[in-house]
């Protein structure tokens, strides 16, 4: 079988096919996919407390960034962060235990789906809040760990928060190694981007003299090749907003999808999962079943654990 890095045109859609992934990337993509599907299933069965936001359809964003980030880099994630966490640590057990409040939870079950801290990784559930904190971390890194960067994931809707602009201003002004990854999935909860954003992310970045890079591809290899030189510049103190045009396959959280069916269908048509299965069936099927089985096993094992323990410490 011949596989090329240069994507071939898909005769059905007229768009380029996806290039062949490394086994590691494919495994990780599938792990995140099946992890998220499992969560929705567990919620459906009433086995999880509270809420969660899955990154179905957006898994390739943190997977593409995985090899561009190193252990010295600080990652700030948001409410839709399972993919970010798994791409960094691959630790499905710890994450599921955190979400289910079981022993072995990354944060004792206190933080849950959207408040996780581990080494140089931190997520929090208030939109925009992490940008100024990341600016502070970037300031520290520039001084003590030259070459390291702070990476913050935010959505399109989060550009409604003033904290984003205060931080962009600081990042440009102080030449901070700050990488803002924008997952523009065209919607914020129920509100389409067009109904909440005047202008564009690019225009807003430009206003601060912050570089902007638009990623429309869903091809991990292609995304990486495009981003690599730009991320290297971030490390030298040139902040960047990398905007991914992406698609939220599932509901905002659980069972709260009010989008018209065409919009959901359009998202599904862009799904890397189906596209990759079509473009690389052998590769896909070699890993898909095992990833599903692995997540099944993780879920069974974690669900059987005793509840996590914690005593209020503040």
């Amino acid at each position: 079988m011949t596989e090329t890095l240069v994507p071939a045109l898909d005769p059905a859609t007229g768009r380029p096919g996806l290039s062949r992934l490394s086994d590691d990337d494919l495994e990780l993509l599938l792990l995140i996919r099946h992890f998220e599907l499992k969560l929705l299933q567990l919620y459906g069965r009433g086995e999880l407390n509270g809420t969660t936001h899955t990154c179905l359809g957006q898994e390739y964003v943190p997977v593409a960034l995985r090899t561009l980030l190193g252990p010295a880099d600080f990652v700030f994630s948001n409410h839709r962060g399972h993919g970010h966490y798994l791409a960094r640590f691959g630790d499905a057990h710890g994450l599921l235990a955190e979400i289910m409040g079981r022993e072995g939870a990354v944060c004792g079950g206190v933080g849950g789906s959207q408040h996780i801290h581990r080494d140089r990784y931190l997520s929090t559930g208030v939109q925009g809040e992490s940008l100024p904190v990341a600016a502070g971390v970037a300031l520290h890194l520039r001084r003590t760990d030259p070459g390291a960067l702070a990476c913050v994931y935010i959505g399109d809707g989060t550009w409604g928060e003033g904290a984003v602009y205060e931080a962009l201003n600081l990042a440009a002004l102080w030449r901070l190694p700050l990488l803002v990854v924008v997952e523009n999935n065209g919607i914020a909860q129920s509100t389409p981007t067009a109904a909440q954003m005047a202008g564009t992310v690019a225009g807003r970045a430009a206003a601060f003299g912050v570089d902007h890079h638009l990623v429309v591809s869903g091809d991990v290899n292609e995304i990486r090749a495009g981003l690599e030189p730009l991320v290297a510049r971030v490390r030298e103190g040139r902040p960047l907003a990398a905007e991914f045009v992406t698609h939220r396959l599932g509901p905002h959280s659980k069972g709260d999808d009010t989008r018209p069916p065409e919009a959901v269908r359009a998202a599904a048509e862009n799904d890397w999962y189906a596209r990759y299965a079509q473009d690389h069936p052998e590769h896909f099927h070699r890993f898909d079943g095992p990833a599903r089985a692995l997540v099944e096993g993780v879920a069974d094992e974690v669900a059987a654990r005793p509840p996590s323990r914690w005593s209020p410490c503040a």
């Binding site: 939870a105 208030v126 100024p132 904190v133 702070a150 904290a163 600081l170």
Partner: protein
Amino acid sequence: MRVAENLNAALHGLLDDDPTAYVLGEDVLDPYGGAFKITKGLSTRFPDRVITTPISEGALTGVAAGLALTGNTAVAEIMFGDFAALAFDQLCNFAAKSVSMYGSRLPLRMIVRCPTGGGRGYGPTHSQSLQKHFIGMPGLALYEMSPFHDNREVFAAMVERGEPCLFFEDKILYTRPMGQADPLFTVRRDGELAVVDPALPEPAARPDCVIVAPGGTAHRALGAMRSLLLEEEISCRLLVPSRLYPLEVGALLPYLGEVVLVAEESTAGGTWGGEVAHLVHQRAWDRLRGPVRLVHSAASVIPTAAHLEREVLITESAIHRAVREALRD
């Protein structure tokens, strides 16, 4: 030494002793040295660790939290404490939460300085005492500057706590001397608590009234104590805790009498005094002659014109009156 000088020296000392310490805020660089000149000389001596910021209270507080998160000691100055409102999210939802919401304790050495209070004619949005809005947040401690507490010591205590601290500095104190010079009274320290008693040859075993006041109100309480003593032979004791929240009420208990009053500059409603009263009632109700009395500013905006401002803010004579009323009942 004036309080402002003591505070400035404390910041110098902190930057001197702790190579990870940063000071950041608006207009903090020399030669300006901050709106109240508290950061004077710092940027000249420590150009890398004294950082001037844009007018972005939310972001500068977030940056301080980011520095603390990566193991530094961060001191942020909010030019007027009123603007801490713009940093509320960073304080409440990020800094205070992060100490414990990730399952195990995440120490953050972070101090947010808030020049506070009225009496200088700055008007309704530059004169408030916002302490009460930050009370009761797990992971956030509140301290108040006082003439009886060396600021270097207080800073050390805040850093030692390993959680975000708000430091309220009553602006009126900046130009006042440290300690107190009135020979009528003596000050002693019991841990973090300052205890001020009449300097009588044979002090009464129990003062007639005990006034609890944060640092910024202490001199007004002392003024009232002086006139009460001289004009009416009423002896009062003043207790000034350095940490307002969480309040170590156990430290106050040995010094309380039958009549207790809390004096503070906050406007009425949901005050710190209400919290103090509740704690004292829980621990000492049967020793009290009546409920703890609260004296504070009126339920009003704080006007600019001096004669109007005086009508709203807590004064020495309001404390004097309140003590007399408490003793009459």
